[in-house]
Assembly symmetry: C2
Homo-oligomer: 257 residues x 2
Amino acid sequence: MPELPDLEAYAGNLNKMVAGSQVIEVVQYNSKKDALANINTDVLISSRIEKFERDGKKMLIHFNNGNTISIHLMLEGKFHVADDINSVSFKIFDFNLNGRHLVITDPKGWAKMELNPAQEKVPDALSPDFSFAYLTKMLKAKKSKNIKTFLIDQNIVRGIGNAYVDEILWEANISPESKAGKIPEETAKQLYQSIGIVLRRSIDEILQAKPDIINGEVRDFMRVHNKRKKICPHGYPIKTTRISSKITYYTDEQIVY
Amino acid sequence: MPELPDLEAYAGNLNKMVAGSQVIEVVQYNSKKDALANINTDVLISSRIEKFERDGKKMLIHFNNGNTISIHLMLEGKFHVADDINSVSFKIFDFNLNGRHLVITDPKGWAKMELNPAQEKVPDALSPDFSFAYLTKMLKAKKSKNIKTFLIDQNIVRGIGNAYVDEILWEANISPESKAGKIPEETAKQLYQSIGIVLRRSIDEILQAKPDIINGEVRDFMRVHNKRKKICPHGYPIKTTRISSKITYYTDEQIVY
DNA sequence: GCCCCAAACAACGA
DNA sequence: CTCGTTGTTTGGGG
């Protein structure tokens, strides 16, 4: 559920709340099969949390002894900071920070965690690696791919999901039915800028609505991917359809390439 | 272009015309790259043609020294029997039968020939291997596959192409939009019988129209896959659509499963 | 709303 | 109208 802007907001707040804390104990609640596989938690004991860093749709926790834990929340995973561990349901992982707890929950048990994950090869949507040259190269390489499935494909660019892609395509005035290879150079530039604008602006909008957010999603500010809105800011009625079986919000203003 | 019934008719006539003939010389016209690859024609010299046998959409020529040549005509390949080899265009292969010639032509150069091909594992549509039990097993195994693409898939059953599949599905009263897995047992029985009925009847109808046919296709007798017909024998208007980009003729009488 | 895998489908070339 | 190969989409499951 959380996409890049949500996770970025979580990271900032988790840094404020628990960075610097020492890990006293770690408990894995391995209710579901392969969640948290292969984690040797021994190496974390007594280390301190140095920093939370978002990477694509994953959260990285860097420890001061050089280790890193990556967490992908999938559909329903959540971070919590709690004094009383018993008050938290659906726990899958608990960092005991000497009294306080950083807890990861997931009713579905689909969240994925890894110790010292390999370096990612695909650029994060807000990293400098995601250049305009890279975008145009990939638009050509995947020319017959639908532009919406292109943007949410984590093997092309990491961090964008089904909600923000609709916002980005609306901002760029590109129909979600377009083919990647048919987008003209000028429009690709527009798209590239819209990705940065929408993602960065949304981080601000989330923090404005919920300054202390570490889980859940704020979605009220969304221009089109928004169940409650009937009309986009330009006055066009918001329509819905399905693209590769994903619910899609758009307007007729957006141009099909 | 030729499908099972066409090739079956060719085989009978070629047996009448040139079976027993001795091969004096063989010439490969290797204009296109990989047509006829790997054929050592030496082993054919001086052997006699024993028999033509259709197998799926291929023609097999069995020689009396134990060798077999297989020929897939693809879209535009053709058999010819000619006295004057120079009168034949687009030659790709010539069997000199001491004066007469058995010639294979193909303007596109796509036809494929093989010496002593491996035994096929997929049943031919008119062979006993293609049992009702096999059909129902495959309908289950490929349950989400479209029924038309199922029947023309040469990895499921060999011999049926885009023309005869429409005839078969019309005969069985099954819409070409159906999913393989949704066809009830009773209807599958109907389908199984229709395959045999349509294919065998068509061989007769072809030979009735052109008793000496060894190339080209007779299609006038077709019930629905027929450009000129507007109405099927049951009085329903014939409609056209595309299924996996193949032109498809059907009527609304046919039930969608 | 997530990701993965397998199977089905579509586009292209020979 | 043929068959392969390749890339993309779809559907099911965790």
